[in-house]
Amino acid sequence: MKTLAAVAVIALLLLFVWERVEIIRVGYQIERLKSKKITLQRERDELRVKVLTLTSPERIARAASEQLAMVPPRQGQVILVRVPPAAPAAPGPGTPEFRLARNESGDKLP
């Protein structure tokens, strides 16, 4: 009986110690994951800034004119057509009131 009690007490003590050790171990694990999360968040922010910088209207306009030799449409190259409101709407949200198209009959592009 006495032996059993002693074993039980020792087992309880070991359980207590194991619990404490485990808490510390998991605590470190949490910390590691947290710092990994922060690193990944920073990387995400860095990429976001890059995307935003690369998609600025100024850069796109420059790339379009310098690399792709695009020019803004000149007068006569754009035909504005009003779509009658009664006409059945094309699928998809936000169908504009008019459409833009290039003037095929008019002057040639430079």
Binding site: E31, D45, E58, I79, L80, L100
Partner: protein, 571 residues
Amino acid sequence: MTGADPYRRRRIVAALVLMVGFAAVLFRLFSLQVLQAAELTLKADRQHRKAVTIEGERGAIYDRRGKVLAMNMEVPSVFGVPASAGNPSRVARDLGRLLHVQASEIEKKLRQERSFVWIARKLEPEQGRRLERMALEGIGVVMEGRRFYPKGPLMSHVLGFAGMDGQGLEGIERRYEPYLRGAKQSVVLQRDALGRTVFPKGPNDLGPAPGHSVTLTADEVIQYIAEKELEEAVAASHAKGGIVIVMEPRTGAILAMAVSPRFDPNAVRAISADRWRNRALTDAFEPGSTMKIFVAAAALEEKVLAPGTLIYGEQGRMVVANTVIHDHDKSGWMTFAQVIQRSSNIGAVKAALSLGETRLHRFLTAFGFGERAEIDLPGEAAGLVKEPRDYGRRSLASIAIGQEIGVTPLQLITAVSAIANGGWLMKPFVVSEIRDGSGQLVFQAVPQVRRRPIAPETAQALGAILEGVVVVGTGSRAAIPGYRVAGKTGTAQKIDPETGGYSPTQFVGSFVGYVPAEDPRLAILVVIDEPQDEAWGGVVAAPVFRRVAEQALPYLRVSPREPVKLALAAQ
């Protein structure tokens, strides 16, 4: 031989030694645990626990379509611990190469008798990674929030910028500082023997609340169009600078506010304070002929004149208070509408004289001149409108042609928007909503009416006159095929600071108007400051109005008045 224990003495000595030893240990224990308990607990706490103040991330700024204009990012800052830097000159040399800073400067910092010195703050992320790989002695890296403006100079005068410690110093950043700034929270970190943090927060602790995000009424694309066209016009006319404001006349919402020359808020330290100033609202100027719009508004509202009333143009020369007022054209009889369309000084002066000082002043203040428009941006000026008691003999005539009066570009566009808006003067605004860190709406702007200086019929009659300015008058270069445009040109001489009189060479050319005239969606003001060759507002500013509007209208899906083939319309 006695039976005495031969080891008794030794046993006693050993027992005594042990007892003294135990007593010493017990005493030490007592001393540590009881006598010095408070002091040592404090010391241990100091080593294991560290209180730090954490600040929530600063809120982002978006345009009306949710495009990011300003955001925060964690970037590395480098510090030195002089006591730990073994070889300051070698460390300084390595650092200097990486940071592009003079090695001698870093070495000087590392030789200071201080426990902590900043070496460089808020660097590029790549520099931080390279620094960590170098693992220099006595050099550490910490992360700090840095403000980024991913679109560079775009909208810089509206956005403003934040300082090194993340506090808003100009523009929206300054005006909305209490909202944008993240909450501060004090946190106790526990550290183990190796200095690693253990359980810095409980699992449910979310940390300090981030700042609110601010959404503007301004649109990135319209702003880009305005800035591009303004920069091109300023460069082409070799002007000193310029301003373009695009407003939604019905609400008073600012769609774009461009100021030239621009600056990059990401590199603000290299730029003089003069460049930061949002001159669209901080600086008043003499508007010149655009003021005739308001003289006409007052004359029509008071029924002093009608659009068809005939006025004699004095063949282009009239004497007022011993000074001569000239007209560009030598006109005879013309209608009041033609006075505005031809921008006749003499006709405008006659209209002002028939109104009288008090009435003209009343209308000028009703249109918001001489008082702040109370836009939600810092640094707005009230301009200068003289009281009738301070008028000189020529004042009434001068004011009629936009002299002796100082208005800010913001006041001018707001007042013209009132004409476009059936007479309602709106309060201009640039922030449409504010949301907290969790996306909950905190504030939503609603258009605010300030007052109604003129009746809708007057606004309509005046609108028709202003359409004539573009169709047959001085503003023909503002015409956009397919759309009805109303507006007015202005060319004002600047005051020469040396002579105190009007400069014969320095002008401000402007155009202000709205489109489509029958259902105004955009009110646009263009101001070109000191153009070099041709200074006429109709020549330097009106084309900028046209180019901004003809790109912005299709973008906003505003249909032309009638189906039109621009090639035919242009012929």
